[in-house]
């Protein structure tokens, strides 16, 4: 139907750029900077400057909602607590650890003899102790999802990567297909679900090819290709596609839990070897990078080191006329100074030149923004209500449903920052009450 059809827009993926080179392990940065913040909550540091730490040693705690430990990603000496640029676009405190290049593991890291024997509460505890958070971008503490009261019937692995340029999940699955299935198996046990689904874009036949040979050994797990549209990787969209059900706030209401594929792979290691979340894959790509590729790096690695590994910025790139983006091109954030460090939610860093300047007219009211909105909002109406400071108006227009996918700004023929208006209106309505 015209009014509520399945939504999405096909966007040029530009994925091939970073797929040509193999996944590059870069485990020896000179320094790492563990950011002392997760989502919006500050972490409590428990190591002092000068202390020696091992890989996997707890260096900080997240407190309150989503309380869990945060671990050192390299072994070495804590040399300072410094400000570092974070993917949120701000400078945050970070623990600087000088890498001794010895890779000394913490005593807690040891293989389990019988990982299949763990019960549901034990697995959930493992998630918490491993400091496992969603690696897809939101960084939501994973164990909270599994502590739900709702009956879970399916665990969905999100390997869709619907944003252009990003290939970190794809490259990691290609490398460790069986680990993904193992992680999913443990997730299913932790959720008490007997169905597991791996979602990926239909054109990514590579994922199907690497997973297929192992599927027979993992009962209950199926593959689920989705359309090549943005935002196909959106949680609500996947749950709707897989279960046919819709929900208001959390996927568990529809009997589903959605986790990123990289999270599942980390979880497999956490269950079998007690390795906490200390590394992740980052895509370094964009027209402004000489040799785009993917890196497996310890958390806290300076992105500068990775760009250097890529051969630096493209020739003739003028930084003042280029974006340096933490995250995807649709929902990421422009970082002004290239001193970013890798944190748990950072899936990609993109550098590309600004588009040529164009003379843009005013809004012509074509309504494309309302047309593409996956949650059926009317962005121009929200903007109007916001500009006249009408709190009730913004609320009546359901602005809180916006998840800032960025499609309205993307399609706007007049280049209006309409996503930003809706985001501000949402914030305004939340505070204004």
């Amino acid at each position: 139907m015209i009014l509520h059809k399945a939504k999405g827009v096909r966007i040029d993926g530009r994925k091939q750029m970073s797929k040509t080179a193999p996944l590059h392990e870069f485990l020896n940065p000179r320094f790492v900077y563990i950011p002392l913040i997760q989502q919006a909550s500050p972490l409590k540091r428990i190591v002092e400057v000068g202390e020696l730490v091992k890989i996997g040693q707890v260096v900080a705690f997240r407190e309150g909602f989503g309380a869990m430990p945060i671990h050192a990603s390299v072994s070495g000496k804590v040399t300072a607590v410094k400000k570092a640029w974070h993917a949120s676009g701000r400078m945050v405190d970070a623990i600087e650890i000088e890498n001794d290049l010895l890779h000394t593991p913490d005593d807690a890291i040891r293989p389990e003899i019988d990982p299949d024997a763990f019960t549901k509460p034990e697995l959930i505890e493992k998630m918490q102790n491993a400091g496992l958070s969603g690696l897809g971008g939101a960084g939501f503490p994973t164990y909270i999802k599994y502590k739900t009261q709702c009956a879970i019937d399916v665990v969905i692995i999100n390997a869709v990567e619907c944003e252009p340029y990003i290939t970190c999940d794809y490259m990691l699955i290609e490398q460790l297909p069986e680990k993904l299935l193992k992680g999913l198996k443990y997730f299913m046990r932790a959720a008490g679900a007997n169905r597991g689904v791996v979602c990926y874009k239909a054109y990514n036949t590579g994922i199907e090819a690497v997973l297929k040979p192992f599927l027979a050994a993992y009962p209950g797990i199926t593959l689920f290709p989705v359309k090549d549209i943005y935002p196909a990787g959106w949680e609500k969209y996947l749950v709707q596609q897989v279960t046919g059900k819709s929900y208001a706030n959390l996927p568990s209401e529809a009997g589903a839990i959605v986790d990123n594929s990289a999270t599942a792979i980390v979880f497999a290691d956490a269950v079998e070897k007690n390795i906490p979340l200390i590394s992740r894959v980052v895509t370094i790509s964009g027209e402004g990078v000489r040799n785009p590729q993917n890196f497996l790096v310890p958390i806290g690695t300076p992105v500068k080191d990775l760009i250097q590994q890529c051969g630096g910025y493209a020739e003739g790139l003028d930084p003042a006329k280029a974006y340096y983006i933490a995250g995807g091109p649709m929902t990421g954030r422009a970082i002004l100074i290239d001193e970013l460090v890798v944190n748990d939610t950072l899936g990609s860093v993109l550098v590309f030149p600004l588009p040529a300047a164009k003379n843009h007219p005013a809004c012509l009211g074509c309504g494309q923004c309302a047309d593409v909105c996956p949650v059926y909002l009317a962005p121009t109406e929200i903007q109007r209500a916001f500009e006249s400071k009408d709190v009730e108006g913004v609320k009546a227009l359901n602005a809180n449903k916006c998840m800032q996918c960025g499609l309205c700004s993307y399609v706007c023929p007049s280049h209006i920052e309409i996503t930003d208006f809706v985001a501000r209106a949402k914030e305004f309505a939340r505070k204004g009450a």
């Binding site: 015209i2 422009a334 012509l364 309302a370 109406e381 700004s409 993307y410 280049h415 930003d420």
Partner: protein, 397 residues
Amino acid sequence: MARFANGKAPYLRKADDKAYGTAIIMRDFLIGLLPLILFAWYKNGLQVYLDGNIAFLEMFYPLVFIIVGGLLSTIFEGLFYVITDKQVRTLKALGTKLQTSFAAIPGILLAMILPLYTPIWVLVFGCLFATIIGKMLFGGFGYNIFNPALIGYIAIAFTLTGVINAAGGALNASEILIDGIAGATPLGTLSAASTLNYDALVTPYGSLWNFFLGTIPGALAETSALACLIAYAWFVFRKVIKWYVPLVFVGTVFVLSWGIGLAAGEPGLWFPTYSILSGGLMFGAVFMATEPVTTPRNPLGKIVFALFLGAFTVLFRFVGSLPEGVATAIVFMNIFTMPIDNWTAIIRSDSPIQKKTWLRIAVLAILFLAIAAYGVLKSGSDYATMIVTSPLVRGLF
């Protein structure tokens, strides 16, 4: 360390593409006008010349008339900027301004919907009204509430129709020679008719096929349904308009006209077909009811807008005293664009639908049904050859 540029997500924009953007939409819109302009030239220029009723150079008058309309609007808009905008002091600044304000469009559209023998000074007056009052006083492109071309058209229709008729009116030199037409356009004939009769309404102009092709008397470039359909197909292909808006609008008029026919004891499908093929309905449906600035933005709003447009067109055309209902209906509905947009945006984004929202849906539905029912019954009983409704209902109107 390097400093990079700041910006807002998303960092990829379709509008950065050279082949996409508001300017491209407007270019495609102008291209869509071409079939109508060419047809107008064929019907009111070439054919009349071939009939031997006008001189060779006179043949190009329709084209000149339309171009002059576009030029006048551009000039007025440029003057407005020069006088009111302090930043516009050089030719270059004026050029950039006009580049993003699509100044020629109101004048071109206005010229296309005026009768052929409209004196040029009347066109000047209309363009002045369209551009200055209809567009610039509201803030220029993107901010006008009413369709500028229709503001100009209505200003002329309410004040200068006599002048236009005295100067020759809508009929070209060939049409004036046809006896049966008696100097009137089809809707002019309809408003003078007291019954719905195929022989009286359609036969003088040939058949409904002529209505479809557009070889009937009428405004300069709006008579051909065929040309409008070509433009419609182009617009849908280029995504300039939403395909369902003209369909809903024309469909509503068709159904309601059929209802009028039924109420008047004339159940034939020729009448609703005649109704949608005459006057400016096709033109209005494709070019005016879809005009983005002055119509609702969200899909549901566009549909509601088109539905009401259909109901009001029928009301104004068959019940009101004006022969032409489309222009009035569109301008009238332009007033309600904002509330419709707001209400439908709330309805569309609400799921599950709340009680308050149901109320809004009910108000819209009742309003539509009441207007449609009134239009159908009132005009149906006006044209009735025999009383088909009960005396009580008859008495109400």
